[in-house]
């Protein structure tokens, strides 16, 4: 296979999956020999490029920015991977769904006003802070997803196994490698 173009994105999640990705340590160097990272929170590219081969998506779809970006990603990427529990199950980010469909105000109030130590104010500047969706959705609920890489976060060896398998076009993960949590 030619050098393939990889992207990683960070939607509604804690960045833990990306941290775990960085825990790949020296494998990152192997990886760098085989792939180009064309878009990621860890490199400085503003616009999601066309013709991406593989995209690891961390986090759930929580706000309008996430939604827009995800549609763009799907249109410009061959293979999507739901990367970590938040992308697959919504995980902790979805706990606000328990409050029902009209939870956005309530949740912002709690987070930015009630829990604030200083300067309690609700972020509401239209066009600057993306609006929350009424319900947090897993990635595959919005666009079709080819592969799932669970874990909270997925441990580095699991990420390595997954990427190696994928690059070598061998079967996907099985058994305990699919463990949530």
């Amino acid at each position: 296979m030619d050098r393939i173009k990889i992207a990683t994105v960070w939607l509604g999640g804690c960045a833990g999956c990306h941290m775990s990705f960085l825990d790949l340590d020296e494998f990152l160097i192997d990886l760098a020999g085989r792939v180009d990272v064309v878009y990621s929170p860890i490199i400085d590219v503003k616009e999601y490029p066309e013709g991406v081969d593989l995209c690891l998506i961390e986090g759930a779809v929580c706000n309008e920015d996430n939604l827009e970006l995800l549609h763009q990603i799907r249109a410009r990427t061959k293979i999507l991977v739901s990367f970590g529990d938040c992308a697959i199950t919504c995980n902790v980010t979805s706990l606000r769904n328990l409050l029902g469909p009209k939870n956005t105000d309530q949740i912002l109030q709690r987070a930015y006003v009630e829990a604030a130590d200083t300067n309690p104010v609700k972020p509401g500047l239209e066009g600057i802070v993306p609006r929350l969706l009424p319900k947090v959705r897993p990635v595959h609920d919005v666009v079709p997803v080819e592969h799932f890489l669970p874990g909270c976060p997925p441990p580095a060896p699991r990420i390595k196994a997954f990427l190696t398998n994928l690059l070598d076009q061998t079967p996907a993960l099985t058994g305990a490698q699919l463990k949530f949590g």
Binding site: H71, R74, A75, V143, P144, E146
Partner: protein, 541 residues
């Protein structure tokens, strides 16, 4: 009670009969339109006209044409008055004397009546359900006498097998075979249960039979008890049918008084008691094992079969469960002979079937037709087609477990196999007619909501699967679903059907499957395009 006593009772009842009988429907439907008031006024009007010696005003059970109630029919003139109000009473009496009066009448010679072949409903609308003498005068309890005094249990079992009677509760299991299994099962104690938990929405056949001819059920049950060797029976009746319960209680009391129930029936050593158990609003209790749990005073959750109730049922004893209509067929079969019964209907479905005709149809009410009668005869000739010049679109049979049969299949004969082939079932006999204004996806959603609410919650596919199927149908109707959702719905139907514990879960996808089969375009019209449809995804599990 002996045969002589029985015949004397009959003779006495017939001898005291008056020249003219005004039969006044006192089944639940007509009572809701003040039929009791009609009867009171009729009695009063008879007295005022000084006709007490000539005219009897008799409260009877269902007279079948429920949509036109309250109904009053005069014998022997056969005039059938409809939508009678208490104020009409004097006019009806005047009509008896040949006076011309403007009263609404139905034609007793219309196909609705003439195409019927009453076996189960033979006494409905004729006898007074609250008087055992009235039943005896119609040859009631004669079959019980013959069975107990002149036949061995195995002769009764033979007769049931030869008659070809199949269970009228839905699945159509051969009744004789079921009875034989219970009879053969070892056990000192056995039970007979009558399933009167008619839960299918849109079905009221059993209600009508219970309200109109309760003794027929008792007689059938005692005969069954004798044949299988049981001495205790239960009637599990839904609480929604208070009138049926009252009349059953009365009937049990009367039968006991005459020695036709209880200890030493017909002065033989045979004992049989019947108790009523009242349901409390759970559709799943129509399922045999759930029903038994409910009779035992427990949550009505089904358990896996085997063991079948015939081997281990109520209180872990061999138990025979049949529904109301099945028991109602028993006495007529013994009285009139198995050959007679086997001569009615089709090769595999013998006898008649009672249907409750309702929905978008001219004549709603109760009909009994030979098995194999084409659906078209039922809905178009007897039912009079859709009201207000509408067009019939489909007929729903079998309740939440059944399916919708589209108009193009109206020539299908109604028997167990033909309906199953069309993806529906005979069910207990509810028949809801739908016209062109009915949206089939909404009908599927309606039944799915029903199954979701009525799921007992024990097994996962039914408890959680119906929730997801309902969710997908709601999504479809809100025009928020795409082809992937529809595929998911179909996959869930298959899974819930094949993995649920009991009949309720296994058949809950039927309304979706049958509407998908015949009205797929109505689903597809609702679909939204999927902007990211990726063809290769279809192969993924």
């Amino acid at each position: 009670m002996t045969l002589n006593d029985l015949q004397e009772t009959k003779a006495k009842e017939l001898a005291t009969r008056k020249k003219i009988v005004l039969r006044c429907c006192l089944a639940a439907g007509c009572i809701s339109s003040d039929a009791k008031g009609v009867k009171e006024q009729l009695v009063k009007a008879v007295a005022e006209a000084g006709l007490q010696d000539e005219v009897e005003v008799r409260g009877v059970g269902c007279m079948k044409l429920c949509c036109e109630g309250p109904l009053v029919q005069a014998d022997p003139s056969n005039a059938l008055y409809i939508k009678v109000t208490p104020d009409n009473a004097p006019a009806i009496i005047a009509a008896l004397k040949g006076g011309k009066v403007a009263l609404q009448q139905a034609d007793p010679n219309s196909p609705f009546f003439t195409k019927q072949e009453p076996i189960v409903l033979a006494n409905c609308g004729l006898i007074d359900p609250e008087r055992i003498e009235s039943y005896i005068a119609a040859d009631g309890y004669l079959a019980l006498h013959d069975a107990i005094v002149e036949m061995e249990p195995k002769d009764v079992l033979d007769a049931m097998v030869k008659s070809g009677l199949r269970g009228r509760g839905g699945a159509g299991f051969p009744t004789g075979l079921k009875w034989g299994t219970v009879a053969k099962s070892p056990g000192a104690r056995k039970y007979v249960i009558c399933n009167a938990d008619e839960g299918d929405p849109g079905a009221f056949m059993d209600r009508s039979v219970l309200e109109s001819d309760p003794h027929a059920i008792l007689e059938g049950m005692v005969i069954a008890g004798y044949a299988v060797g049981a001495d205790q029976g239960y009637i599990y009746c839904r609480a929604e049918y208070p009138l049926a319960i009252t009349r059953l209680q009365k009937a049990i009391h009367q039968a006991k008084r005459l020695g036709l129930l209880g200890a030493g029936i017909f002065e033989s050593p045979i004992n049989f008691n019947i108790d009523i158990r009242i349901g409390a609003g759970a559709f799943v209790c129509g399922e045999e094992t759930a029903l038994m749990a409910s009779v035992e005073g427990k949550r009505g959750t089904p358990r896996p079969r085997p063991p079948f109730p015939a081997e281990r049922g109520l209180f872990d004893c061999p138990t025979l469960i049949n529904n109301v209509e099945t028991f109602a067929n028993v006495a007529p079969i013994l009285r009139r002979g198995v050959e007679w019964f086997a001569g009615i209907g089709t090769e595999k479905s013998k006898g008649t079937k009672v249907f409750a005709l309702a929905g978008k149809i001219q004549n709603t009410g109760l009909i009994e037709v030979p098995m194999g009668t084409p659906l078209r005869t039922i809905v178009e000739e007897m039912g009079g087609g859709a009201p207000d010049g509408g067009k019939i679109k489909a007929v729903q049979t079998g309740g939440p477990s059944g399916g919708c049969i589209p108009a193009q299949h109206l020539d299908t004969p109604v028997d167990y196999e033909s309906l199953t082939q069309l993806g529906s079932i005979m069910g207990s006999g509810g028949m809801i007619v739908m016209d062109e204004t009915t949206r089939m996806v909404d009908v599927a959603r309606f039944f799915m909501e029903f199954c979701m609410d009525e799921s007992c919650g024990k097994c996962i596919p039914c408890r959680a699967g119906t929730v997801q199927m309902h969710h997908l149908l709601v999504k479809l109707l809100a025009r928020e679903a795409n082809a992937r959702d529809l595929a998911q719905l179909e996959e869930l139907c298959d899974m819930v059907k094949n993995t649920s514990l009991c009949g309720l879960g296994q058949t809950s996808p039927n309304p979706v499957l049958s509407t998908l089969r015949f009205f797929r375009e109505e689903y597809e019209e609702l679909l939204q395009p999927d902007p990211h449809a990726v063809p290769q995804l279809a192969a993924k599990p």
